[in-house]
Structure formats: C-alpha cells, structure tokens
Amino acid sequence: MSDKPIALKVFRFDPAIDRAPRYENYQVPWREGLLLLCALEYVRDHLDETLAFRDYCCGCSWCSSCVMTVDGKGIRTCSRPLYPGESLVVEPMRGFPVIKDLAVDFGVTVATPEGTYRKMEGTIIRKEKRS
C-alpha cells in the first residue's frame, strides 16, 4: 500500500486558445516527503510539460505564490503533504484571473498621486453551482 500512486485531476485552460476549461488526470508515484507542489513539478517534468503553475516558490509556507484550490479549498500547495493513494482535484486559486492552467494573476501594487491600488489582468473564471 505504501507505494500507491497519487491521482491528480488538474484544471487546464489557456484563455488565448481554449473556449472552455477542461480537466486532465495524472498519476504521480508516491515517495517519502512528497508535497503537492512537488507532485505538480513531477507532472511537468515527466508527464505533461505544458502544465502551467507558479513554481517560483519560497517552499516554506510563506510566500503564497503556490496557492491553489485543492478539493475546493484554497491552500498553499508547498505545504500539503501527500499520502499514498490519495486523489485530489487541483484548480487555480479562486477570485484571481487565470493566466494559464493553475497560474493566476495576483496583481501588482500601483502607486498614483491619489493612492495605491492593485492592478490585475484578465478575466476571472467562475464555476457556477449546479442546481
């Protein structure tokens, strides 16, 4: 049981090309100390090199550039340990415009004589609840 792979269902969307988002499934082998962000690195390095996410990361649960929506909850993926045989749905962080796949625009602080505000680019993808 200890080496059962991790199953990831990952949100994919390139706003420049795709009409709508889709999901892709990946299987990542489990190893001691595997974290979700590292599992995504594994996907990019070995399974699908087109997967986009913010891999530029402090790795110590601070910078939050790795936040994503995992099973419906916003978390820092660098600090989410994985257990053998887990299945997870990985989506971009909600409330931010999607650049591509799991990478979102957190915006930039812009100063003007009137004050500072955050500037973002793109459109926010909303998942409507099915009634």
């Binding site: 090199e49 087109t50 891999d55 530029y56 790795g59 110590c60 601070w62 340990p81």
Partner: protein
C-alpha cells in the same frame, strides 16, 4: 515594441527592490523593475531565515566587524566594499524596520560562538539580529508601492543585456504571462538578478526541489555583455536536510542551538567543534565518500544527546522562523515524521554540498559600478564583498546596503546621460533566438539542467581536483554540443515554463563553465574553494580570479584586491 525608462532594475528581491526605492527618490526619474514572480512573494530574499548582523553592541564598532568579515573571507574581499557594508548596515537595517520589517527578539548569547555559521559565530561581539525574509520583503514591497514613479512588472525575465562600445543601454525582456518579447531602453541598468544555487542538485535556494529560480542568469547576461566577473569558483555550500522531511534551517545552526553532535552511520562523532562552515562540509563529504554515510546518503546530527528538553528543542528549531511559518512548518514536520514525534529522539540527516550562496559575481566598486558604463550590480549577482567565504548574517545586510548604493549611483548616472537607441539587428537576432527553439527535440531543458547539476556536484563541489574539473569541462562542452541542439520547447506562448527553462539552460551552462574554469585556475585552497591537489593557501594567490568574455573565448586572469585597511602582511 520598445519601452523606455530612465532606470531599469533587473530583479525585485532585496537588492533590486532597495535599488528601485533609492533611485525613485529622484522624482524626475522613471524606474522600471522586473521580477520573475510576484514581487515580494517570490525569490530568495523572501525565503531567507532572516539572520542578519550589524553593529549594535555599545563596545562593538564597524571597525571590528570589518576585520571579522575580511578574516572569514580569507582576505579576498575588496575592502572598500567591506567598509561600506560594515558602516552602513545599521542605518539601512533601521530604515527597513521603519518601513515595517519586524525583527524577532533574538537572544544572542553566544557572542563569539563555536561556529562561524551560527548566529554570533566567528564574531568578536554579539551582533546577530533576526528579520525573517517574509517580513523583510513585505516591508520593501510596501515601500516600493509608495513611489508613483516606479513601475513594477511581474512574471517577466530579462533575456539579454543590450550592450555595445563598453556601455549597457537596456535589456530585452520576455513577458512570461503573454509570451511577448520586448526591448527596454534605459539610461542606467541595475543588475540584481540573484544567485545560482540551482546549478547544483542540492541547494537551499531550491528547498525540497522546488524552484527558487536561482539559475545564475544574471552572471551569464553580464558575461555576454562583456562585464568582468570575479571569484567565479567561490560557491558556499551548506548541508541540506534529508530527514525529517521539510525541516528547514541549516545543520550547523541546529548543532549550536540545540547542543547536537555530528555523527556518521557508525555512530562515531566525526566533527569536533568549533569548525568553519566549509570545513564541516568537507568532513561530512569525506565520511560519505569513504562509506560511512547513511542509507539516505547523508550524515547525522544527533539530538538525542542534547541537554535541552523536547520542548526546548522544538522552540529552538522554530526560533529562526516567523511565527506563522513556524506553526505551519512544524505541523508539516510532525505530519511527515509521525512515527517519531519527539525531536529529542531525532537523528537529523543532512547531506553536504548543498549550494547555499555564491561569493563571486560581477565585479563592482563601492559605487556598484561594473566594468561597463551604465551597468550597476548589487546583491548576490555582484562579487567582491564576501571574498572566499560569506559570514553568516551578511547576505541580508549586503542587499540593502549595496541595493541602496546601486540605486543612488545609477540615478546620478541616468540624470547625466541620455538613451542610446538599440541596434535593430541585435533585437531581431535575440527575438529569433528566443523563438527559434525546436518543438520536437529529444531532450527537455529540465533534463539538461539536471545533467549539468549532477556534473557540478561531482566535480565542482566541496572538494575539487584538477582532473575532476577537466572532466566537468568536457561534460559541459558535450552538453553544449550534443544536447542543447536537441532541446525541445513545448508549444504555446502563455506561461510556458519549459520555454523559460530553455532560455535559462544555455546560460546555466555558461555560468557552470565560468565556475569550473575559475576553479581550475585558482591552484590553491582558500575559504569555500578547496582543491585536493592544492590543499594549501598560497600567499601569491591573494588575488581575485577574473573572467571576461573576449568575443568568443572565456578569458581567465587575476586582478588585485582592493586593500584599504588590512594589508597582505596581516593575512599571513
């Protein structure tokens, strides 16, 4: 499209952000600052533990810290730079605290502690302070946001410095978000692109294999522009934790804070403290090489003999992290080591040879000027401050002291000089290079980088030999000849990380070659550079190694050290 700005700052870590803030004090100047990720929320400054040192003890003086830094740097430091660092660090740190950085109260009991690696170690007076990278970068980000004449671009990398006739006139950039290529024309350019840890398979710059993007692109861009670089052999190594998973912090710190011991797989204590940082690395490396390493490929730090209680050890392990980080991290460590919850039962495993910091880089003077007009450098990408070894606590002070200087002097230069229109054919060539990668090659940029990193660890790591370095050189040559042309880049323009890696990989090979050639050239052992075939420190090598690009070849040479206070006679 071409963007025009007065000052271009490449990198928005501590040095770049501080340079932009300083340059923007002249409200007539427009400053453009680029960062590969979200500003303040990516990069190595943000992930720093926060150890800093500056003079704060009433009996201490910049003069003493100056001498400590030069001694630890094995007299290879440019002393004009060390003077600036030792004298200006207190004011720059206070300023950072005024901008909102929160120092953690830190009990610096150790004074002249056992190891130069630990806070207070190798120093004449207690002067260690703690501002975690998170808080440090937040303060700089907020201060940056207060200047309307600063434009910050995130998710952008510089791909090449625009240079000609001994001058730098801007850079070409790639917007990672859109995949668009642009040229930036600037009156002055500040290079603050950071270090090169990812040239090695284990690095504190890439914790647990995640990317800090310390790829050394800044060194390569400066090299190709024709700037002089020094001490390219000086890689500072530290231990990388293997177990328990996700424990952060450096092993020497754990030993001195918790009273642990270094032990090999045969349970022998193999290091008697005190020892300098580089010696610990070599001793651990020797244990593993001679077959006394653990099954994970490391050695132990035994905490079972610690005089502290489990609770005190836990507090010490958390002490160097911001409270929020420590809480999260500790939960994770506990989750990952569920079968051994008590730290007092831990034998922490670490492997030596984790690239931690790079002392060499673009040669600067005290005005952060490089050998090219219009190009300034600050932070880890620059060389000359730390000599052959960086004293713990000097990286986070270096970046604000020299960041501010680079900002000030680049602003002066930009006020007195005009733009130089860039050469259209140069821009066309660069655009063709960036878009010309093949889509169907046999190998990925990542596998090329991994292959290079393995070579660097084996032959250009903590202990080097002439023969090994020659092997590394031919390995790098063969990667350049055989693998690079077959490198494949995934389709698509938006947020194409494979494309970014494809731009980084050839530069990383160039930086690796500079390291290996400089390490071959310095036929002695000094500080972080250890040659098994030349184990002695030689007085005639009290010089910088230098690398300059002369058209097609890498020109190795040596240049004198700037000695303002301590002459060569003191170093004997």
């Amino acid at each position: 499209m071409t963007i025009r700005t007065d000052i271009l700052v490449i990198g928005a870590g501590g040095a770049g952000a501080r340079a932009a803030i300083e340059a923007a004090k002249n409200s007539k100047l427009r400053v453009l600052v680029l960062n590969q990720g979200p500003i303040g929320r990516s990069g190595l400054t943000a992930m720093a533990n926060g150890g800093m040192q500056w003079v704060s003890h009433p009996e201490d003086s910049p003069r003493y810290i100056f001498e400590d830094i030069v001694r630890i740097g094995c007299f290879l430091n440019d002393q004009n730079l060390v003077e600036a660092l030792s004298e200006e660090a207190p004011a720059r740190a206070q300023e950072l605290i005024e901008w909102g950085a929160k120092p953690i109260p830190f009990d610096d009991r150790r004074g002249s502690g056992p190891s130069p690696d630990a806070p207070g170690g190798g120093r004449s007076f207690p002067r260690a302070h703690l501002i975690p990278g998170a808080s440090y970068m937040t303060a700089l980000r907020h201060e940056l946001g207060r200047h309307p004449n600063v434009t910050a671009l995130t998710d952008v990398i510089a791909t090449k410095l625009l240079a000609g006739n001994g001058k730098v006139t801007g850079a070409t950039i790639l917007n990672i978000r859109t995949g668009e290529f642009e040229a930036v024309e600037a009156k002055a350019t500040v290079l603050a692109a950071g270090g090169l840890g990812e040239l090695y398979p284990h690095s504190t710059n890439a914790p647990f294999g995640m990317h800090g993007h310390a790829t050394g692109m800044g060194y390569a861009m400066a090299y190709h522009a024709g700037a002089a670089l020094i001490e390219m052999e000086m890689v500072q190594f530290t231990g990388n934790q293997l177990w328990p998973p996700w424990l952060l912090g450096n092993p020497a710190l754990l030993v001195s804070l918790c009273g642990g011991q270094y032990r090999n797989a045969l349970d022998q204590e193999f290091i008697k403290l005190p020892q300098p940082r580089d010696a610990i690395q070599r001793m651990a490396y020797k244990e593993i090489k001679e077959g006394r390493g653990t099954s994970r490929g490391g050695v132990y730090i035994d905490l079972t003999i610690s005089p502290l209680s489990s609770r005190e050890i836990e507090e010490q392990l958390k002490s160097s992290l911001a409270a929020e980080v420590a809480r999260e991290r500790w939960k994770l460590i506990k989750a990952m080591s569920a079968d051994a919850p008590d730290p007092k039962t831990w034998k922490i495993e670490f492997t030596p040879g984790g690239a931690h910091f790079f002392m060499g880089g673009v040669h600067i003077n005290e005005r952060c000027e490089t050998s090219l007009r219009g190009l300034y450098a600050a932070g880890e990408v620059s060389g000359g401050v730390h000599g052959a070894n960086r004293m713990g606590g000097n990286a986070l002070t270096e970046i604000i002291v020299f960041g501010a200087r680079a900002g000030r002097y680049s602003a002066e230069y930009a006020s007195e000089n005009d733009w130089i229109p860039s050469d259209e054919s140069l821009l066309r060539d660069e655009h063709a290079r960036l878009t010309g990668f093949v889509k169907t090659g046999e190998t990925t940029p990542k596998s090329i980088i991994d292959k290079l990193a393995a070579t660097m660890l084996e032959h250009a790591g903590v202990a080097r030999t002439g023969r090994g370095l020659m092997r590394a050189l031919s390995a790098i040559e063969s990667i350049k000849q055989d693998d690079l042309p077959k490198m494949r880049v995934p389709e698509g323009r938006r947020f194409n990380l494979g494309w970014v890696e494809a731009i980084e990989a050839p530069y990383m090979l160039d930086v690796a070659e500079m390291i290996v050639r400089s390490a071959l050239f310095r036929t002695e052992s000094r500080g972080a550079h250890f040659r098994e075939d030349y184990p002695e420190t030689r007085p005639d090598w009290l010089r910088h190694t230098s690398v300059v690009n002369n058209g097609r070849t890498m020109d190795l040479g040596s240049v004198p050290i700037v000695m303002t206070r301590l002459g060569p006679e003191v170093s004997q």
